[in-house]
Symmetry: C2
Subunit: 232 residues, 2 copies
DNA sequence: ACCTGAACACCGTTCAAGT
DNA sequence: ACCTGAACACCGTTCAAGT
């Protein structure tokens, strides 16, 4: 784990290289040009160095992208209050903060993975676990439930957000949905009874609402399990 | 959409090329050598042709991998009975069948995406929607709930399964979990109160149980919403 | 300890030319 | 209509050599 040394000389890139600097530049490049736009050559050029230099700080491209995604995940914590009234409300706020963070960096969504090994993924799971522990759930279920929630947050966010990073400005989201809706309309209602009558919902749906719908279902199920007799 | 013509000459690859043949060979190659082992050159060689030939049948590598993943998704339908007693049981069986199908082809998990455009993804969502429609849920919620379930199935499966395709036989799952557990143990309990006391759960957990835990939470929440007064 | 940049061993994709 | 295979324009990664 190398660290930045100090001082800033003059011209070009000032500081010495560091893992943080590299990851930061990678995030910027990914934001600008998408996953395929990130290249060791291009990244090196932007940092005024050669591609080989980067390999002293990161093992390979997979690690670099994973670190970049973890940095994006970290944005979520800034948006969420430290302590929340109830466990349910806290989990909901945390989940939505993660979704919003990934939504602003679509390339990152498919690269946050579990089980947690990177810094912010660790923080996230611990936060979830701590909130779950405040529920009435028996202790032996804490791990399974916490990871289930964590999987939902990152997995469903990836499903919802990742497709957006595929259609790079050539097609808009609206155009894509309209086109998909048309394909659904052309299906045989005998084979696809549900899809053929659901095309307007497809066209009009909001991604964030989709995320919270499933989230609330999940948290709802949590309450039921925690307290067998729901109030009134 | 070209189709296979007929007859089989002698020697080498017998039949004419077709999209189905190419996708089938791609699945085999992905199963054998993982995502990075799939190459147009290698695939072409196995089919006794040149790389350029493949481009007459598929647009590019992204499409090929998406088609391969969709074929794997199709395996799930073979494992699931046509009609299930209740909607809840049907959804559960369907979800687990998808998980198991993806579990046998880990590379595929991260490539099944929504909203559905490919054949088996369409079938899956329609099946889910049809089952959801049998619930007591108001019709205007069918789309949101169905896609939420669909997102859960594919998204959480991907989270759970995809990491496995990263550690290619060099490290076993057990070794990886043990190593991760050790990292958790070294964390400061003041910063990570949950993780530091949950390492044995991490080591002992079963992936499939993890999937069903969240699934049951979700379906549980569904029942609560569908019928405000749960029986007894 | 950290950086350089040429070189290696590949890729996906295109396209003129064939049948 | 479908296939061939050489060629183009890249990649990630390594590594001897520098400071």
């Amino acid at each position: 784990m190398p660290r930045t040394r100090g001082r800033a000389p003059t011209g070009g890139r000032a500081d010495a290289l560091s893992r943080e600097i590299i990851v930061g530049a990678a995030v910027a490049l990914l934001d600008e040009r998408g996953e395929r736009g990130l290249t060791f050559r291009l990244l090196a050029k932007q940092l005024n160095t050669g591609p080989g230099a980067l390999y002293w700080h990161v093992a390979n491209k997979d690690e670099l992208v994973a670190l970049a995604a973890d940095q994006v995940l970290g944005h979520a914590f800034a948006a969420v209050p430290r302590l929340e009234e109830g466990a349910g409300a806290g989990l909901r706020a945390l989940a939505i903060a993660v979704f919003d963070a990934l939504d602003r960096h679509p390339w990152a969504a498919s690269h946050v993975t579990a089980p947690a090994t990177l810094a912010n993924a660790l923080r996230l799971l611990d936060r979830i676990g701590t909130l779950v522990a405040r529920t009435g759930l028996p202790a032996e279920r804490h791990f399974a439930v916490s990871t289930a929630i964590s999987y939902y947050i990152t997995g469903v966010s990836a499903q919802i957000i990742a497709p957006r990073s595929a259609l790079d400005s050539t097609t808009s989201r609206d155009a894509f949905l309209t086109q998909t809706a048309e394909r659904w309309e052309e299906l045989d209602p005998a084979d696809y009874p549900f899809l053929t009558r659901t095309t307007t919902d497809l066209r009009d749906h909001d991604d964030r609402d989709q995320f919270t719908t499933g989230l609330d279902l999940l948290l709802n199920g949590l309450n039921t399990t925690a307290d067998p007799r729901p109030p009134a």
